[in-house]
Amino acid sequence: MIRHLFKLIWNRKKSNFLLISEIFFSFLVLFGVLSFGLYNYHNYQKPLGFTHDDVWLLTLQTQSDSTAEKLAVEEQVIQRMRSFPEVEQVAFTSGNAPFAFSSMMNRLSYGNVKDLDANQYDVEDAYKDVLGLKIVQGRWFGPQDGTTLHEPIVINRQLQKDLFHGEDPIGKLLTPINDSVQYRVIGVTDYFRASSEYSPEEGAFFTRINRQKDQSTWGSLLIKVKPGTGVAFEEKMMRELGLIAKGWTMDVSTLEKMRQTKSRLTLVPLIALAVVCGFLVFNVALGLFGVLWYNINKRTGEIGLRRAMGATTRQIRAQFVGEVVVLAFFGVVLGLLLAVQFPLLDVFQVASGIYWQGMALAGLFIFLLTTLCALYPSRQASGIQPAVALHEE
C-alpha cells in the first residue's frame, strides 16, 4: 500500500509540485525559527552563575581631564558607599558589568589552542561577594595578589574546557595578545554568562583591579544593597554622591531592570518571528486543507472505483491521509537535504544538537499538521457513496 501511495504521488508530481514546495518552504521556515528558539531556550536553561538580586549598577562619568581628581573622587565615592548601612558590598568593575551593553574581548593562547577569544572582566575583590560567584577550583583574588609577578586571573569553567581540555589549569601561565604581562590562573568559577540570559556560554576570565597600584578609573560600580532597599535610598544616595562628584554624570540602575532590557532584546524578535512563522504555517495549513478538499471532491470517481474494487471506508480514509503524509514526506526530505547542511557546515557556530532537534521538531510538526489537514477531507472522501460517485463521471 505504501508503495502504491508513493507511486501515485510520484506520477502526479507535476500537479503536486506546488504543494510539495509549499511543504518544503514551511519546513525550512519552521526549522529556522525552531532552531533559533531552541538555541535561546538551551542557553536560557543554563545557570547564569551569579545572583543579581538587590544589585545595582552605578555609572560615573566626568568631562574632567585630571586623573588625580578622578581617582580622588572615585575613592571618596566608594568610601561613602561603604559607609551607608543599606549597602552590603561594593566593587568597581570594567564597563562590561552583567547585562550591560558592553563587552571586552581578549585573545588567549595556551598549548595547541591559539588566539581563543574570551571575555575579560576587570573586577575588584568584592565582585565575588556582590554577585555571589562560586569558585569550584583554586581560589578567588585576595590581598596576597597585590605583589605577584604574573597577573592573577580567575577563569570560568567554559574557558577551562576550551583552553585546557580537562588539564588542571591552576598555576598555568597564559599570554594574552595585547598585553606585556603574563597571566597566572589561580581559580576556576562555575558558570559565568554575564551578557544576557539568552547568550551562549562563552569563555570568560577575571583580572584583578588594584586601585592602589594602577592609576586608572573604572566608572562602573556594582552595589549589593540589603533586601528591600528601594528608591528612597537611591535618591538619598544620589544626592549625597552628587555632593562628592560635582559636575559628574551619574546613572544608577538595578541589574534586574538591565536583565529585562536585555532579555527583551532577544524575546521581542523571537516573538515577532514566531508570530510571523505561525501565521505562515497556519496559512499553508489552510491552503493545504482547501486544496485537498477540492482534490478529493474531484476524485470521487476514483473513490467509487476503489470502493467497487473492495476497499473499505477505513482503507479509503487511510489512503488519502497516507497520500498527504507521502506528500509531506517529499517536502520534508527536500527540506532536510538543505537543513542538514547547517550542522554539517557548522553555520553560525550553533551546537549541532540544536539543529538536529530543530529538524526533528519541524518534521514532526509538518507531519502532524498535514495529517490534521487531511483528516476532514479524507473522512469526507470515505463517506462518498460509491454508486453515486461512479455514476457522476
Partner: protein
C-alpha cells in the same frame, strides 16, 4: 467590461466561501505584516516630527579614523570638529550641534524617572520642527548665559508634574535644577538625532568646547537651502574632510566622515562599515527579505487559485467557445484576483492599524507613534497590486491554455 469582471469576481467569491476565507486570510495577514514593516520603516527614516523636512536635512553622526595596520576608531564627532569644520561650510543654510543624549536619573515623590538629556544649540530648534504643547524653545540669550532652562516632552511633564502646566516650574535632573520653559510632543526614540526627554542649552557643556579631539559625543545636523543642494553639500564636505588636521596620527591617518540622510546614516553604520553608504545593498536586502516572506503566501494563493479556477473550467470553456481569446481569459482571471487582493488589502489595512496600535501601546519602542499616512498607504496599494498579479498570472495562464472542449467537459486531462 471591467465592471462586469468585478461583478463576476464578487459572485465567485460568494460561491466558495471557505476558499474565499483562506485567500482573504492569507492576503490580509501578509499585507498586514508588510504594512507594519513599511510603517516602521517610515517611522525611522521617513519625514516625521520633528524631522519633517528631512529631504533637506543631512546628519553627521560619526567620524572614523583608520590607521595603516587596519586599526580603527570611530564614534560621534566632537564639538570642536563640528564647530571648527562643519559649521564653516558655505553651501548649507544652517548647521546645528547637539549632544548625544545621556541617560540620567531624576527623583520625584519617591519615584525614579530615567530621563534622557540632550544639549542643543539654537539652530537645533530652527532646523527641526517640534510640536510645542506649551512654552517655547530656548534662544540666544539663554544660550549665551548658559542658563539652566529646559524643554521637556509631554511624557516627562506627565510623570514629573502630573500633567499640569510645567512652565516656570523646576525640574531636577542628575542633581541639577532647570527651569522648564517649553513642553513638546514626545519624540520617538528611534529618531536618535532629535530624541530626548529633556533638552537643555549646549553651553552648559562649555568646558568641552576647547577639547580639540576629533571624536567626542556630539551630532551635527545640516539644513540645505533646497533639496537640490544636498549633493553640493556632500561635495563640499568631502573637500573639507581633506583639510582636517589630524592631531594624533598614531590613532590613524585616514579620516572618514559623511553628511548622510537618515537612511544613508543607518545603512553606512550597519552595512557599510562606516565607509560605504550601502543604501543599495540595504534596499537589496530588504527586497530579498520581502520576497522570501511573500513566497509562501504567494504559493499558497497560487495553489488555491488553481483549484478555484479549475472548478470553473466549464465557464471558461463556454467563454472560449463563444470566442474569448486566451488573452481575454487571462485578463479576466487576473482582474478577479487583483480585486480579491484589494479586498484582502483593505482587511490587511484594518488589521495593521490594530497591530500598530498594539505596538504603540506596548512600549516595546519608546514613544513609538506608528500609523498610516499617505506614503504607507501608497506602499500598501502597490504591494497589493504586486501580490495580486504574482499570484493570479500563473493560474490564469495555466487555465487559459485549457482546451475548450475539455474545459467544457470539466476535466484537465
Amino acid at each position: 467590461m471591467l465592471k462586469n469582471y468585478i461583478i463576476i469576481a464578487w459572485k465567485v467569491l460568494q460561491r466558495r466561501k471557505f476558499f474565499t476565507f483562506i485567500s482573504l486570510f492569507g492576503i490580509s495577514f501578509t499585507l498586514m505584516v508588510l504594512m507594519v514593516v513599511t510603517s516602521l520603516f517610515d517611522h525611522v527614516f521617513g519625514p516625521q516630527m520633528p524631522e519633517r523636512n528631512s529631504d533637506k536635512l543631512l546628519f553627521v553622526n560619526m567620524i572614523r579614523q583608520e590607521g595603516e595596520e587596519g586599526n580603527s576608531m570611530s564614534g560621534p564627532p566632537s564639538y570642536y570638529f563640528l564647530d571648527h569644520y562643519v559649521k564653516k561650510l558655505q553651501t548649507p543654510e544652517k548647521v546645528s550641534i547637539s549632544s548625544v543624549f545621556t541617560p540620567l536619573n531624576s527623583y520625584v515623590q519617591n519615584k525614579k524617572l530615567a530621563l534622557d538629556l540632550k544639549h542643543t544649540d539654537q539652530a537645533f530648534w530652527e532646523i527641526l520642527d517640534f510640536d510645542f504643547v506649551e512654552g517655547r524653545a530656548f534662544g540666544k540669550t539663554e544660550l549665551d548665559n548658559a542658563s539652566h532652562v529646559a524643554v521637556i516632552n509631554e511624557n516627562t511633564r506627565k510623570q514629573y508634574f502630573g500633567g499640569e502646566s510645567a512652565l516656570g516650574k523646576t525640574i531636577e535632573v542628575n542633581q541639577v535644577k532647570y527651569k522648564v520653559i517649553g513642553v513638546v510632543k514626545d519624540v520617538p526614540v528611534l529618531r536618535v538625532h532629535s530624541y530626548a526627554d529633556v533638552w537643555v542649552p549646549i553651553t552648559l557643556r562649555q568646558s568641552e568646547f576647547k577639547n580639540d579631539d576629533l571624536r567626542g559625543m556630539f551630532f551635527g545636523i545640516i539644513q540645505a537651502k533646497s533639496t537640490g543642494d544636498l549633493s553640493a553639500i556632500k561635495d563640499e564636505y568631502a573637500r573639507m574632510m581633506t583639510q582636517v588636521k589630524i592631531k594624533d596620527p598614531k590613532q590613524g591617518t585616514t579620516l572618514y566622515s559623511f553628511p548622510d540622510t537618515l537612511l544613508e546614516a543607518f545603512a553606512r553604520t550597519s552595512l557599510g562599515g562606516g565607509r560605504e553608504s550601502s543604501v543599495g545593498l540595504f534596499y537589496t536586502l530588504l527586497a530579498i527579505a520581502a520576497f522570501l516572506f511573500m513566497l509562501l503566501p504567494t504559493m499558497n494563493l497560487v495553489n488555491i487559485n488553481i483549484s478555484r479556477i479549475l472548478e470553473r473550467s466549464s465557464e471558461i470553456g463556454v467563454r472560449k467557445a463563444f470566442g474569448a481569446s486566451s488573452k481575454v481569459i487571462i485578463g479576466q482571471l487576473v482582474v478577479e484576483n487583483v480585486f480579491l487582493t484589494f479586498l484582502g488589502g483593505m482587511l490587511g489595512l484594518v488589521l495593521s492599524l490594530g497591530v500598530m496600535q498594539l505596538i504603540n501601546n506596548s512600549g516595546v519602542i519608546a514613544y513609538a507613534d506608528l500609523g498610516l499616512n499617505v506614503r504607507v498607504f501608497a506602499w500598501g496599494i502597490l504591494l497589493c497590486l504586486v501580490f495580486g498579479l504574482i499570484s493570479g498570472v500563473y493560474p490564469a495562464y495555466k487555465m487559459s491554455r485549457l482546451n475548450a472542449v475539455e474545459a467544457l467537459r470539466g476535466g484537465t486531462k
